[in-house]
């Protein structure tokens, strides 16, 4: 995702870091040491670099074009097939050689973006609707595969009421379906599913029934603002916290790899 909200600028002027940087740092913390990570595109490309450098040096990155990396790429990436991501890779080859590991259930966490998400973490990136008009979106790419097959997923989204909806109009990437034991009932692995939705306002997590609640708000964001910008009646955690600001070390890595702010300092 790229940021296009007024919050981005407010965040930057207030605190010495941008909203994009906050989200990258939050995403990086979702990666634990030693995990196999389906890295995906955009902000998560940076999050993987931060995690590898700081707290998850043994994490492994998998890319659906057919690349596996133990050592992260040495420079900024715009796509997973950029030459710096292929030189020095642990493996380069076919998509099925990477997707096979995903389908076996070996991938711990995958990152996803979408135009719409609902309270059960189902994602739509195919057919949207805006002002009563049908909108064609790019489609699944590998997102549907990752949502079905990874142990857990982390979603990055802009927080707007037309994006966080009660029920998505098209399920590109299944989350917890209609809740409860829906995933195992339709044939997906029990215990898999979305772990968090990192938005431009806060972090949503899921209870045991697969229903999302607000777990933390970003610095300077009011709870009421988050609830008002969510398309369903969002529950708020009793122990609601504030999303930790990116540390100096995290900001250092982000700015080393994205010196122009292409991903993290969008207007």
């Amino acid at each position: 995702m790229r940021l296009g909200e007024p919050q981005a600028e407010a965040c930057a002027t207030r605190s010495g870091f941008t909203l994009g940087e906050l989200m990258v740092a939050a995403a990086a913390r979702e990666i634990l040491d030693g995990e196999w990570v389906f890295v995906g595109m955009r902000l998560p490309l940076l999050a993987f670099l931060v995690a590898k450098r700081l707290h998850a040096p043994r994490a492994v990155g998998l890319y659906e074009n057919g690349v596996i990396r133990v050592d992260p790429a040495p420079e900024m990436l715009y796509t997973m097939a950029d030459p710096p991501n292929q030189r020095g890779a642990t493996y380069c080859g076919e998509m099925t050689r990477v997707m096979s590991l995903l389908q076996q259930g070996c991938v711990d966490v995958g990152f996803l973006g979408a135009a719409e998400v609902d309270r059960h973490g189902n994602l739509n990136s195919t057919w949207g609707r805006r002002d009563g008009q049908v909108v064609r979106l790019p489609g699944s790419g590998g997102a549907g595969d990752i949502a079905c097959l990874a142990k857990r997923t982390v979603v990055l989204m802009a927080h707007q009421p037309h994006r966080l909806v009660e029920r998505v109009g098209y399920v590109t990437s299944p989350g917890y379906g209609t809740g409860g034991d829906w995933r195992s009932a339709i044939g997906l692995r029990a215990g898999s599913g979305p772990a968090a939705i990192l938005t431009t306002m806060g972090v949503l997590r899921f209870d045991e029934t697969g229903d999302a609640y607000l777990a933390s708000v970003h610095p300077g964001v009011a709870v009421g603002q988050v609830v008002a910008n969510t398309g369903w009646k969002l529950r708020v955690a009793a122990d609601l916290g504030e999303t930790p600001a990116p540390s100096a070390a995290e900001l250092g890595v982000i700015r080393e790899f994205d010196p122009e702010g292409f991903w993290t300092r969008q207007p």
Binding site: N65, V67, E94, Q103, R136, P138, C148, L149, I186, G187
Partner: protein
């Protein structure tokens, strides 16, 4: 270089004219974001192909350009857009307004595209997967069918085999027979070559057969599968080719801005496709200076392997 008598070398114009009639189903962008055969796609537009079915996992902006040029009736893909910039405006106009013509979308995921091609490559009617269970991709794509596994009884999805009429595949180097070396992430390129009824191979370099034969494990595509070989240096620009040139990020972002409005896209198309005779004309427009900034800055040769005995 001495060309053998039975060489398959053709110009891009000849290869498209001979092997890709209107109405064909065409696999392109099989290696994902690198090795995208833009030169071939632009020749399809210049030769005014109509009613094509585009097949691929993703294609970055190539599918958007062909849709905007009115060449496409149907897309069977996982993703159509602009990878580093966002949506594909021509895709939106075609699907939302029928401009310049309506396009039918058959949505897959990356993995199910790979399995559909792999099934065709294996010569079986389908392959099973757990992916897409519970999704509307499964519900709406007639080539994905839920079933109970005859072994163990689990719910699975049958991905129907998909055999494109033509695969257009860009590689780093090939000989005149189409024996091809490719490296970097290869996406679904290897299965694509085996699944398609015909293969048009586009190569940055044509080398002697001994070069290819020296490293058979790197021969991703054997020449016996190939109908035509096109020597087209820089034929994948603006996508990258490992060891030859990097990704022209600015080109993708310029295209994003210039395809937002239909009229601007038509100007873009005249400038970069219709207004140039062939790839040489495109490269002249691109300019030596811009190409210079994209070239390899630091070589990184792999170590040789010993096939001796």
């Amino acid at each position: 270089m001495a060309i053998e008598q039975n060489s398959k070398l053709l110009t891009m114009g000849e290869a498209i004219a001979r092997y890709v009639p209107s109405g064909s189903s065409v696999l392109m962008g099989a290696a994902m974001e690198q090795l995208i055969p833009f030169a071939a796609g632009h020749e399809l537009i210049r030769q005014d192909r109509r009613d094509l079915t585009l097949i691929g996992p993703i294609s970055d902006i190539l599918f958007d350009q062909l849709i905007g040029a009115g060449c496409v009736a149907r897309v069977e893909a996982a993703w159509v857009g602009n990878v580093s910039a966002g949506v594909g405006y021509n895709l939106r106009r075609a699907t939302e307004q029928g401009v310049p013509r309506p396009v039918e979308m058959i949505d897959y995921t990356n993995f199910t595209v790979a399995l559909a091609l792999h099934a065709a490559a294996l010569g079986v009617p389908f392959l099973p997967t757990r992916s897409t269970l519970g999704s509307d991709v499964l519900a709406r794509n007639p080539h994905l069918v839920e079933f109970r596994s005859p072994v163990g009884g689990e719910k699975l999805v049958a991905v129907e085999a998909l055999a494109p009429d033509v695969a257009i595949l860009h590689v780093q180097r090939a000989d005149a027979q189409g024996n091809a070396h490719a490296w970097g992430g290869l996406g679904v390129q290897i299965d694509g070559a085996r699944a398609a009824r015909r293969v048009i191979l586009v190569a940055e370099e044509i080398v002697e057969p001994e070069v290819i034969a020296s490293d058979p494990n790197r021969t991703e595509i054997p020449g016996m599968l190939v109908s035509a070989v096109v020597h087209e240096p820089w034929g994948a620009h603006p996508s990258p080719v490992q060891g030859y040139y990097g990704r022209d990020h600015a080109f993708f972002h310029e295209y994003h801005e210039r395809s937002r409005k239909r009229e601007d896209f038509e100007n873009w198309l005249r400038e970069w496709v219709l207004g140039v005779e062939n790839r040489a004309g495109y490269l002249e427009r691109l300019g030596a200076e811009r190409r210079g900034t994209l070239g390899v800055r630091e070589h990184a040769w792999s170590a040789a392997v010993d096939f001796g005995y």
